[in-house]
Subunit: 124 residues, 2 copies
DNA sequence: TAGAAATATTGACACATCCGCATATGCGGA
DNA sequence: TCCGCATATGCGGATGTGTCAATATTTCTA
């Protein structure tokens, strides 16, 4: 038995950190892309036209804020929305809300094109 | 007739601005207090122990980010959660989420005490 | 074990942001 | 119209943040 009320354990500071992470256009767009599923840094770089260090930095920031998580497979780091985010959390509500924004949808379209090109290359 | 998809009109930049506003502990606590209803700057100052200019600044920031709105009545400025926030919006979800955090609930308790004291003073 | 590819980190710069004092403004009452 | 209260704003200093180039690290492969 713990406290008697309040279901969530997250403190105010962690929420501040999360919102700070959300308070940047590039990071919102990255989150939007990750709605699509697991992506590696180079996908994000190319779709959003970011220099490598910038992409990597933002992903580290998002990871630090518990919004995304990453796993290395071989040379690649694959990032995705943090798998520990519960289905009924504000975090998820926010991400789904973002996915509805036109700018994010446009990015999503670019991502689809990018992934298709990538697939074709590895096939031919 | 406007666009064919996407119900909301808010652009990415406005959302960035909103999240920036949420990325500060003091502002989150102010929003928490405003869950209680309309408050004037001095209430917020006293409950959160903030210097006047700081309180006023944060309120201006929140107003600018469309999270709160204010109206002057006499010498006092009364702030409240922006009345144009729809009932099913992310903004409201976020504010309700905040209201569940222990730190915010503690502030709320302090506010209640503060308001009681204020009432007693004007009665006696 | 050397080298190449993918990613992370560091360093420097510009710029935004927070804070609180001091001051300005808006408003009501004398 | 002058004063005082509630609030807003200008300003300077300290700190935080985003960006990108350069460099370090990790991992695979030869």
């Amino acid at each position: 038995m713990h406290e008697l009320s309040s279901s969530q354990e997250t403190g105010l500071q962690e929420n501040v950190q999360m919102f700070k992470a959300l308070g940047d256009e590039t990071r919102l767009r990255i989150l939007g892309l990750l709605t699509h599923g697991e992506l590696c840094v180079c996908d994000i770089m190319e779709v959003l036209k970011l220099p490598q260090s910038t992409a990597s930095r933002h992903l580290a920031y998002l990871k630090n804020s518990k919004l995304v998580c990453g796993a290395r497979r071989g040379k690649w780091m694959y990032y995705q929305l943090d798998t520990s985010i519960p289905g009924d959390s504000v975090q998820l509500e926010i991400v789904q809300y973002l996915a509805g924004l036109v700018e994010i949808q446009a990015d999503h379209q670019k991502l689809v094109c990018h992934l298709e090109k990538k697939d074709k290359q590895s096939c031919s």
